[in-house]
Symmetry: C2
Subunit: 416 residues, 2 copies
Amino acid sequence: MRIDGQRLWDSLMELAQIGGTEKGGVCRIALTALDGQGRDLVCRWLREAGCEVRVDDIGNIFGRRPGTEDLPAVATGSHIDTQPTGGKFDGNYGVLAGLEVVRTLNDHNVKTRAPIEVCAWTNEEGTRFTPVMMGSGTWAGVFKSEDMWVRPDLEGKTVGQELAAIGYSGTVPAGPSAGYPAFGSYFEAHIEQGPVLEDADITIGVVLGALGQRWFDVEVTGMEAHAGPTPMPLRLDALLATARLIEAVNRIALSEAPYGRGTVGFMQVHPNSRNVIPGRVKTTVDLRHLDAAGLERMQAALYAAAEEIAGGTRTRLGGIKIDIKLATQFPPCAFEGECVSAVRNAAAALELPTLELVSGAGHDAVYVARKCPAAMIFVPCKDGISHNEVEDARQDHIEAGGNVLLHAMLARAGRV
Amino acid sequence: MRIDGQRLWDSLMELAQIGGTEKGGVCRIALTALDGQGRDLVCRWLREAGCEVRVDDIGNIFGRRPGTEDLPAVATGSHIDTQPTGGKFDGNYGVLAGLEVVRTLNDHNVKTRAPIEVCAWTNEEGTRFTPVMMGSGTWAGVFKSEDMWVRPDLEGKTVGQELAAIGYSGTVPAGPSAGYPAFGSYFEAHIEQGPVLEDADITIGVVLGALGQRWFDVEVTGMEAHAGPTPMPLRLDALLATARLIEAVNRIALSEAPYGRGTVGFMQVHPNSRNVIPGRVKTTVDLRHLDAAGLERMQAALYAAAEEIAGGTRTRLGGIKIDIKLATQFPPCAFEGECVSAVRNAAAALELPTLELVSGAGHDAVYVARKCPAAMIFVPCKDGISHNEVEDARQDHIEAGGNVLLHAMLARAGRV
């Protein structure tokens, strides 16, 4: 059994017309009228495919294809809201791949023991309303619906008002309930949004989990002085110390290969004049790792490196001070073993080459995984680029990912 | 014979009242009415000390105490214009120490073979009109008066207009002439504007010369990518490469101790977001050395380091590009041996501890040195701070520097 790759592609292109941009991207921001139109189209397609559609009180959409037994559903999905300069595939692929699974099961008249559900989660991008991944986070109990309803956009319109305006303020309380228990399994197909699969020329990414993140704010304080009259040994150069910290962050991440990531992306130098030794630098460190122990090791190494760098500058004039504060953190998420195996086995049966990798960024599946077994399927995207109108993916990759999703779900739902 | 340290100090404090700021600094910007008042006071003092005062066509002031023979003058001086948030000592000390030398010779009824001249150079700071060191540079033939007269400030007023407005557009052509040949020697007393003397607890700096400078604009280009999904080996991190360049600049300067200086003071990171790998960094490099060969070595080492850093990043994705352009340069200036010896000998005779050092910044003496033998005398300033209202110096140091100036000039002018 195979999905209809052309039908999936055509649905993606049709949905991409709602909010389509001149450059070939999509601007369909959460809870706008365009988002409402996109939702209407997806709901219509789900109903046409025989699904019972329900909407919860944070606007998450669920399309259910009944099973033959009273079992928790095997679910899949993603989101259809986009960045202001978003692409056709981010999120939309996961929702429409789920729709295509249902259509394919219908085509082949296949019944499953567990129900099949297709989810479209509200406001994954967080570009208009924070927090990001609002719908899946609320479903998972990380946020409360009543707290989310009052979140305003820049014009003061709230999530609650805008859900009502587009007709998606449902009555079902968000989250697993007696009528709709947590899924038996959840799968999410997504473009990789990174360069790994394309670089390795591999079609299917078996996603082992999502990296935990720790974000730090760093302030390095030295002593501002004129570049001319100040000999090298009498300097307390805040930028030189920062350069050493950047090198240390890179070394720390490399020592935790392949899942460690360390990035310094932001820097503000004071007074930022070519002939003045910098007296103060504000910067940031972003550390990521697949497991909490690894993150702990990286954080400890960061603090130790800062201490060593500062210590090495101590003169009778004083020394450099490096102040590091944890700004935000997201715990790592390891996807459930049997769901990951279902993805791996489906790809193997389809004779598709796979690579085991991790998601560096957040996805709805990361929140859903807090309530039920979950896994993700990645397919390559062109140059690893996403959140951009030039976002692109190959039709054969899109189709291959859909087939892996079909067979992974079928394995978990049980073909009757 | 000793100068009157209290009189010198009192004159400094009196001049500092013209444009004095609440924080104890001075704001007496070149060719403003306040600069005119300061000039008037200095000219009056010079005349009261028996000097013949002349003003050249760029507004430089010369006060001459006649000698007994027809010899080139032995001169000293500096400037009385200040930064907008300037101090009491920068420049003013050099002019008034010269005045104090004349007053002291008068007190002791000492005649010299060569005339003694006290100079107050126009617009050393360059804060209102560029270039910096305009008066001494014009005297030395580096600039032409007619080119300088048309230089505008931000309001469009020109140097020529403003010289006339304050009554200092003199008729004598700037520069050595038949009537006023280049000086036999030129000495300039100045606060160090750096931390070396204070750090070493030494009163007198024997200045061997001024560092040559080469300023570079640098652009580092990598590839912007999301910090999460991009593994370490697939990155082209422009900021990491820049960090390595900063470390290299420091290493290059240290390898040219004690006169090599290397500073990265400016940095602009793109897109400057904590979770995006920087794709582009604009930065600068300031290299200084006492001799041209040293500057050449440093520049070659900078280019080699950039090539090595860029080369180390080459992957199948491409590589980091480091583009370095020379933006500005000032050649090194070695002061004349006999003038430097005169300073050294005067300090030794006065039993004052000395340190041989270099000027990292520019001074009028650097331009004057192009036309005649010259040297400088540094005294410590508090915490090495200058160009700041908190600029400060000790009265005993100010006096000691004045005594060194007196005896160095006397040695070169010849006591009758």
